[in-house]
Amino acid sequence: MTEKNKGSLVSKDTGKAYASGDGKAFAKRKDPHRGRNLTLTVITSALFIALMVWYQKNAYDHSYAISIIERSAIYAVGAVAMNLLTGFTGLFSLGQAGFMAIGAYVTGVLTIPVTARQSVYYMNGIAPWLEKLHLPMVPAMILGGLAAAGFAALIGIPVLRLKSDYLAIATLGFAEIIRALLAAPMMDTITNGSYGINNIPGYKNMFQPLLIAAVCILVMLLLINSSYGRAFKAIRDDEVAAEAMGINLFRHKELSFVISSFFTGISGGMLACYMRSIDTKTFQVTLTYNVLLIVVLGGIGSVTGSIIGSFLINGGQEWLRFLDEPHAIGAFQIPLFRPGFRMVIYSLLLMIVVLFWRSGIMGNREFSWNLLFQRRRKKKAEGGET
């Protein structure tokens, strides 16, 4: 099966390192467009920041756009974390929702203002040791990430022995177990059981989630481009060969799993602060599927692809919202448009991506200006011929 597995997963970055923007290759070969690329990067970043500042200044008028951008940033962290595992280490895990739940609950429980606690836990009361325990948002998120990572380290020992679909179904099982544990009556005084927790303080402005997301993604990017990252890719491409080269398979798989879960936990914490009230129903398998679909659309094995995918899918869900509203031509009511149609079209689009456009937007390449310009030149050349 390993031969078959390679297909689209194998990176072609050995040959195309230059185009894929691999850090090392850049340093070795002198890029003729370096000046242009730098200018373009600076200009786009400046434009993006200016737009964000403008949105923030007029936050009242653009609350909707801001909430979409925040959600996209949160899902981007989750998607990149999943990509680290699926796209770069070749471990197909479906446990995302479980780790997000851990992160979200830790963050949520610790950040609820002490004064609001009694009203949140009015049903079951709160555990005495927790009553006065309060942390600011970012430390709480990190703690949430650590909790998720700790849990991942624990279950990774048995689970990472499994391969492909067995690993997927086992991690999915663990996610369901986590969900059941969080909702269990014994946890009532900590997680508030099936009532969920609310009154979680939200973000003060939209820069908070964007900045946290940027830092998380940057750390993961650095990891992917480090020697560890290369070891992960080697494991993905051929386990036996990687082992023969002296890579400790289990240690690296465990490392990838734990780090991915850490950032998944953080994205869960971010989601908790974004939604401000959570319960265990938020973290069903559907959440994992959503993250997976972002990864697939963006391209398995592309960090920038996951980010683009996250913005496209979260934005797209909103742009397609017109499908849910009734439309009429004159007096004739078009029968198709009613609530739910949006999700049908949305899932159809995703099926089309899976079936006909398997590499997604970016494939396993990373976004770079050179790539963008090359594509355009190619298109022009093709256009000229016909």
């Binding site: 597995n5 390679k6 499994l162 679909d165 179904i169 369901e176 544990l181 899932s347 995703l350 099926m351």
Partner: protein
Amino acid sequence: MSLATFVQHLLTGISLGGAYALIAIGYTMVYGILRLINFAHGDIFMMSGYFMIFAIASLPWFIAVPIALIGTVILGILIEKTAYKPLRSAPRMSVMISAIGVAYLLENLATYLFTAIPMAYPEIPGLKRIFTFGEITTSLVTILTPVLTIILTIVLLQLINRTKIGMAMRAVSKDTEAARLMGIKVDSTISMTFLIGSLLAGIGALLYFTDRMTVYPYSGALPGLKCFVAAVLGGIGSIPGAVIGGFIIGICETFIVAFGYSTFSDAFTFMLLIIILLVRPTGLFGEAAADKV
């Protein structure tokens, strides 16, 4: 727990297990032949429930039942042809993602077409008739489910071990390429597998929903996963294994709920999965294969 309550719960568990077993057969057959966890199988089962609701609305039950079953089979084959067949040579992960996509699509489609509000499942005359033996009360469907499951399993085993199409299925699941070289029509064999799997899921849906009385768009998702666990428990690829796995999970789940730990009934199933994967990855009746774990 008195003996009467024990027997009562046991009957419920066996009945639930029978429905699980019928769905688990579909998982185990598809996995045996395509090495694919057909995530959409649970949703085919859910759609079958809706087909029955709409078929019986305008037709007498003895016509509605076959129509609902045929609808389920057509849906199953359609999914295979459109979502899995183009990806035959693709890596396993792509096919799995495609299966997840189909499951997602079916759930959304059902929400769109039938709304998320649970719909009442029709009663087939006679199936809900109540029997009383001393302290134990039970309905016909509770007794019928395990009996029908066992009969269908025996028929299916005969089909697989004695007929030409059964031989083709065994050959394809052993080695697809070699089977193709032997002149076996691999694609139609795979379609046949989906046909049988969907048919059994349809019958399972009939029995399961008659007991549960409502259908909603997500009513197939969790039972689907549980039935996959049943298939793994019994040993993937083994039909008697899937049936026994289904019964074990059905009975355990009923007793966990009966003892008052209903929040853990789903978690238990997955604990069972993880334990079995670690201790005996080939399942109770599976054949040893190197590439599974």
